[in-house]
Amino acid sequence: MLDVGSIRRDFPILQRKMDGKRIVYLDSTATTQKPESVINAIAEFYRNYNANVHRSVYKLGWEATDCYEQARKNVADFIGVKSEEIVFTRNTTESLNLLSYSLEGKLKKGDRILISSMEHHSNILPWMRLEERGINLDYINLTPEGFLDIEDFKSKIKKETKIISITHQSNVLGTINDIDTLSKIAKENDSIFIVDGAQSIPHMPFKMINGIDYMAFSGHKMLGPLGIGVLYGKYENLSELPPFQRGGEMIKEVDFHKVEFEDPPIKFEAGTPNVEGAVGLSAAIDYLKKIGMENVRSHEKYLTRKALDSLSTLKNIQIYGPRDTEKRGGVISFNIRSEAIKRKIASGNIHLDGLLHSHDVASHLDESNVFVRSGHHCAQPLMKYLNIKGTARASFYIYNDIDDIEALVSGLEGIDVQ
């Protein structure tokens, strides 16, 4: 069991009172709060080490470069890969856009890209842009419980399927996809296999497996600062990819009409990088390592089980996603049904779903300082697949405890009235 009381003391924002009451932060799937050690690491960088990296010959410049490259090594070690396989980006979205642009040259008209119906927009839109170039985008269906339909997955892999890009954990359903199995199936077809790890790397132990060609995740969802993301790529893959953006830092030599690019990962980091972000992310990893990712995962399983059990006692709740906490993470999407909304509508294009709007649910919880996300969670195709407009969503991390779950449930009891 985690000592949540002591963990909470490491997070200055969680000491804050609003209207005299504690805040119940249940939106770590969107972004996590930051421990003092991360905040201090960033301040420490600016206080003592700030200079531009990589091209300085003076001492302070080496030290700044060292901070940046040590951070890269820490990220690499955390997921079991080599430093030169870690590209720093702004976030998961940028990592996946990098892949979309840099892999484009490998694709020809008629090729296919396979993603799933549970993807975040960041793992949809970078691939959808290639449809304009005659590439076909296919979506894997889900089972009624919210798992990927493996038979559908297999049936949608064609010989033209050059890229398969799947989320490791859904940011809406919480479903944890079996990346090992999926990667094996992808590799039987020689497809490039990409994993969106934005919701998995922060929450569970993970070591890179051979079947994954690229993996993307964000620092701010794992206690790190905003604006720092990661793209992992196998070194041989990164070596042969063209750069995404061009400019400062990323070259060996530039002539008037000719350029020789740096080796990976610098080739993909045009311009002065976000050094404070990398340093902050590295401090976040140190913090997570101290707690232990096994402990992070078991704490979230415990909270998710408790939350699912308590929420299920509400009369009008509709919960989405798998119930087995072994196969899902600490994010619970739900709606509240409401019989009050019955209207006769003449227009055929208005669809009444009989659910309280998730924004109303979130606003209601906000009044008691319970902060949950509401809306489509950047997964509109999934909302369409589920035939809903949105959901309210509570998500957990190391600083949440049973009191937070109780506050959520008691807040919802106030509107679970029919």
Partner: protein
């Protein structure tokens, strides 16, 4: 959830329904939250003789649309086009937090865009 005035209006809106006669239809969706409203306006010489709506959305957007219809009935289109958004929000019967501004302003913005598209007298193009 909200006060009785809001909840009553949400459950029994005064201006809900599709009228038999109307000269302008404005069909607007707030795609980011799935809200949808259709405004049916009977306009004569720049005056809103009648305005009703159909829609589905959050409590704030539906109540706001009902209140907007009440406010707009019998008024000049030009006048309604000029409604100040911050005044509208300030006078709303429940506090509108920053995260809910778009919900409250849905009918005004729909009206402006729709009337802007329609070729009618009083149009402030």
């Amino acid at each position: 959830m909200y006060n009785d005035e809001i909840m009553d209006r949400y459950q029994n809106p005064y201006y809900f329904g599709k009228p038999e006669r109307y000269s302008i239809v404005i069909d607007e969706a707030s795609t980011s939250c799935g809200d949808k409203i259709i405004l049916y306006i009977q306009e004569e010489n720049g005056v809103i003789k009648q305005i009703k709506f159909e829609g589905d959305g959050c409590i704030i957007s539906m109540v706001s649309t009902d209140l907007f219809c009440e406010k707009a009935t019998g008024r000049n289109i030009e006048e309604i086009m000029r409604i100040d958004e911050s005044d509208y929000v300030k006078n709303f019967p429940v506090e509108i937090t920053p995260g809910r501004l778009n919900c409250a302003l849905l009918p005004i913005r729909a009206f402006r865009r729709g009337v802007g598209r329609a070729n009618i007298p009083g149009n402030l193009k």
